[in-house]
Symmetry: D2
Subunit: 436 residues, 4 copies
């Protein structure tokens, strides 16, 4: 008992820092935080890129989830130590819990999460929970803070913890997670978007019973953050070239899974993929996956017999991606069918080579109770103490509030279609339809 | 003939740009440059980190040689298009040659070059040459610029080209290579060093018969660059934690090679390593290597039988590195012998676990003809047209000129030595000697 | 004739540069530009702050119109030399004209323009014209470019020049003027707003018959610029403390003018103000005014007999400004009357001490022909060559397009009202109404 | 008694901040600091430029001593609150004293201090003392902290205070004063020098009995700071164009003083200068001086009868400065005499138009007890607790340590000398000697 208490309060003899380009330094004083960073499950995040396939569009975007996780931790640390500390609404006992949840919120992410989750029906949130509660170094460290401490951390990340204020630090429409990644992704890709006055936002944050609120005087900084987020989504996260890379990657995974199920004999056994293909992956197997493992397989698959797997792997590794056109599925479904059929005639499997991809974002939402994707609104703290929902005060936020924007594109291998050595007339027809 | 000429002059319909955090944008107008970037040998540089093991010390330092290569190209492009263009000393016919050499100067680098070259006796410069002249996509593209064009590019990179002015753009004590990496490495790691006024340096560059010289009015900017370089070496490139990671990595390679030679049976055949172990690597094999391949093996080696390989791989992957003390080999060789013998008694193989590592830098050197590591000095162009060697004009540069600084450290596994479950008295003795 | 032509084409022997924190360097190659910068009328802009009274709110905002003017010149130079050059829609003969108009567009600004123009019924645009066409050094330089050249420059600035494309470079809803000041003012005040990707905007600019248009691919950068502008207006330009300083300044000028008209005898003759007071200022007199002259008078007026002039001058010089409350004139006009009457009873002249100030901005407007404040819309150049007005493509811009936002505040001297040594009950009543 | 104590400890209800481009925000919590900033003597610093005549060379360098003073305060605040707080060597009772001294260290500076002090034999340190101890608003505020508090503040600034540790925060070879101005001046002028890792320097600072020392691990950051300082001196502070402006300014003051002493009748009485001319300036008079006052006079002096005063004032106001050549007074004194005599013959008064100016800097000095300009060395705190003087550990610092570098230039009015309407042969001779 005693020693557990001690461990939670234990400070390093001397503060440790990590040099960080976004926050200048990440400061660590707590022994538990230091120990968590040293676990192998946390170190694994060094081998998972924060932005998945984005580095194929923006060559600077090669940073890892490791650096992002440290960044989220640092922002929460500043909030609880510099802004909330001493305020009656803030329970100091939840400081370390908040820091741990911030540090570990992404620990369940695997390589190229988006595509993997889709193809293999995985859920990184479930893995996060297992890493925190299962037989891991992280669990051992957290347990030294009390037998129920790991469970609490998992609850904060899963948004089921009783104190919603703690949750809102890392999961709300303006939280430490988003504030770090917008700035970090902007910094590494080099784009001009992603700047907002985080210092000011931190200064105007105030703890309330079930959420963080923002003093009215900081409204413009919050507005600017919302616009930053909006721009980053469309300029970076949904960039059509990045999506093309993701389409190719997804199709590689689909193909490999299909081949496996059909009893195809791989030149080298894809042992790391077996449990994924079978749908019975364990935590232990999952933790062995990272982007170097995946890229290893993609590279050897360039020499597989199967022409589709070989070609797609080649495309991803050597960045020979699909091209795209705008495509409105609601209006152009007939055109899709026609293309599909022409692709088959041309000997190009449309299941792998004619792909409709849609991206969609809801930049900010007010509160719509009961709806599926319920999002907590941002509240401004007015001078008279009243709370007002952001979009009621800000014209700009109101303009984009609750408006989902969707973009549809149709991806295809332009090089195949231009190769007139076979089926020239069919290909010509396809090119006409695609207007290329 | 005709078409070759055409290809060299061929421009893209519209300029292409890459967003770059250091130079804002990388501008491409030439068809050949665009085609080179698209080759698989160049794309492979995305999978080789610019700073090797540095990301284990500075988490932001995860950028690739791909982005650096584009940066060097962009700097040379600005020099030849904005500064040299129209000057009589500059032969415009060598513009494209300079751009290609800049882009490709690092194309022969493999994963963690430094360690690999040492352990397997490789030479990345030799591979660069082979990539340019051998059976590669890069060679095909370059050949379209004339049958002797690849050879010329190789000569510039190998510093044997007849026009030394072209060589000095990418290989001198102040060249586009260094100017890019100092700024880029500073940007991504987030350190404050690495800033200097490149705009000014470019503005004062002047072409001369066999070198680039710098107008005297830019001397302070050049001084500042030299100091930047000096600081970056000691703060980033020779950081003891980075070196520790490199020591561990080197020892992994040594151990695997030794095991292979001794007929050890690996759980999974390390096929990518065979020709390295045997010392007969071909270009084709070499091009298959990148950091994801290496990290794949390190991860599976964590489960090998051999305790040394298993332990070292574990250390690298999970960043459980060696600790270090300052160590002067000239004075303390007896202490080393004593430690070596104690390590053996403690059951810790000193060949892998007691490693002396030295880093050494010569920040700037004046001309010492005939000496082995001959370096061309930086010349200032005085107002009267005369050239003067930099260290004769600058006190600061003079202070560090020709002075090699060396740092020796002794690396060891602190966790082993603190584990008193076996041989406690021997380990206590070791700890006393190491003063830990 | 001959020599005039020559002068227009005359280049400096070596390019000159000005170090600039926003654009890194300002590049000057043309003799005429160099000569214009050296004129005394242009040098005078060093003594006129770009942001008027803003330095009393943001202490970094002390930069002059001189640096802004160089910045606008540099942006136009980059557009015409790097983007427009060689395009058929661009008439290269208008290059120097564009540069001169950019450099001189603000040359008629006096000290604290906004307040001076209001109180003394001046028009800086009229003075700009006179400086360009009158007996000035600037006129002499411009005339060397041809006898009608000064008139052309004046026309571009007055927006009456026949080629609207040239005008749009410096006077449109997205022009070099705005692009410079948003970035510059953000840089010097240190706020996070004001960032947008100018490099990209420049790259997507295309000359058309009567305007600059923007390639669709740059829409998000343009959006971001519009939002930047929006934020800068409300965060910097309309900051209530800055407006308070302007209210006090305006009242000083009002008071001095009134005293003069009433035959008041100043301790020192305000000779620089005579023609302003009399409404018959000449160009020569106008050019003698700058902020050091004005501040000189404000300082000596601190020792005037008249208690109002003395007090107001004191407030401005020592930054003891008015406080403010939100105030809706449409609904609260009765409250204003009541306050006015109470102020009089308290012995505080409401003409000088109870001031309603309104700020209003229209962040972007589509085209409304025939309306008074007609503003040319921003056009996007679609992939099919068509032009589309920005707000029809951008949700965000649409949300704020054509929507004027106005903010009303009532300013008063809080220190007077808290001084209960006289008329305590009346002042208490005032404080109750003001809720302070 | 009681209330004094209270005032020293009194905190603002809510922290106030100033937006600052260098430190992001300046944080104020103490009532006394807030009150000091509001005094008219402190506000006066808004009207004194930090860099004197530098804005005529670097147009961005228009920032005031007001912003620098806030910056020094902020750095000391961070040192005492974030680094020293809680350490036994630090006496928390001296916190507010340190902050006040930091804020007020430059409060005695007048307009263009350097020139004014030289011509009128003034001493800004003496005025600082008088402002703190005399009949001023600043004195009133400080006195509320205890009757001896103003004297203590004055002693810290005058370096006579008993606790040398407090003094070293603002007056040593690496203090908050220098750290702010290097960064601030670099930021506003836009140069690349002036960057160093202040965060790291602050982190490695440790209080010792009579000085601040620096942990050895921060040595490179300290080295980098020293180099920054070195570069800033030669690139910015001693820039020959800035010095030319100062030469002209100094000569204006000399001329006006001489005219006054000779009974010259000025068109407008230079009342603000009387006591300066007479050498009996009072604090009250001194506080009325600022750069707007001086520029006012320079402008009206452009219309004086005296041709020298008129010409020089014109040169300064319209930036028509002197040109210069390198000149070695030790070797070329004969040439100077010859030029002097030729100037007289040409009718150009050499006392005003032929000026030798020398700049000299000692970038770092080790300890030389008893010498006149004694400077405390920087001490590194070694791992074993020992202190070592910086230049003994750093090669670079050693290289420049104790080495004074001096630069001599001879300034002259090139336009006069090129005007061959009078005395053409004498002027030709002068031009030959000057080699222009």
């Amino acid at each position: 008992m005693r020693s557990e208490m001690d461990y939670s309060k234990k400070k390093l003899d001397e503060e440790k820092v990590f040099k960080d380009p976004v926050h200048r330094y990440i400061h660590v004083r707590d022994q538990m935080i230091w120990d968590l960073i040293g676990t192998k499950e946390f170190q694994r995040l060094r081998r998972v890129r924060q932005l998945g396939t984005t580095f194929l569009t923006f060559h600077g975007g090669e940073h890892s989830r490791f650096s992002h996780s440290l960044g989220v931790y640092e922002i929460v640390r500043r909030i609880v130590d510099d802004v909330f500390d001493g305020r009656p609404e803030w329970n100091k006992e939840e400081r370390l819990l908040s820091l741990c949840a911030a540090l570990l919120h992404d620990v369940g992410h695997g390589p190229f999460s988006h595509s993997f989750e889709k193809v293999f029906d995985l859920d990184h949130e479930q893995f996060t929970r297992e890493i925190i509660l299962g037989d891991t170094e992280i669990h051992q460290v957290l347990s030294r803070g009390g037998s129920d401490f790991p469970e609490k951390v998992a609850e904060v990340i899963a948004k089921t913890y009783h104190n919603k204020l703690v949750i809102s630090l890392i999961s709300s429409q303006i939280d430490a997670d988003r504030m770090d990644y917008l700035q970090r992704d902007a910094y590494f890709t080099g784009v001009s978007y992603g700047h907002f006055d985080m210092e000011r936002i931190l200064r105007v944050m105030r703890p309330r019973e079930d959420q963080v609120v923002f003093k009215y005087s900081g409204m413009h900084a919050v507005e600017d953050y919302i616009m930053s987020r909006y721009q980053m989504y469309w300029q970076i996260y949904f960039h059509p070239v990045t999506r093309s890379a993701e389409v190719v990657l997804t199709k590689i995974l689909h193909r490999a899974k299909e081949l496996y199920r059909n009893g195809y004999s791989f030149k080298q056994d894809p042992v790391h993929f077996y449990s994924l293909f079978q749908g019975d992956i364990t935590l232990e197997d999952y933790l062995k996956l990272d982007e170097s493992i995946i890229l290893y397989y993609f590279q050897i698959w360039q020499e597989e017999e199967d022409p589709i797997l070989k070609d797609l792997a080649n495309r991803f590794v050597n960045r020979n991606l699909f091209k795209y056109i705008e495509f409105d599925p609601a209006k152009e479904y007939k055109k899709y069918s026609e293309l599909e059929s022409l692709f088959r005639k041309a000997g190009i499997n449309p299941d792998y080579y004619l792909v409709l991809d849609s991206s969609s974002d809801l930049p900010y939402d007010f509160y719509r109770p009961g709806e599926e994707e319920e999002r907590l609104p941002i509240h401004l703290l007015m001078r008279n103490g009243e709370l007002r929902e952001l979009s009621r005060e800000s014209d700009i936020v109101d303009a984009i509030s609750g408006k989902r924007r969707t973009d549809h594109k149709l991806y295809y291998p332009a090089d195949f279609l231009k190769d007139d050595r076979s089926k020239p007339s069919i290909k010509r027809k396809i090119r006409e339809i695609l207007d290329i």
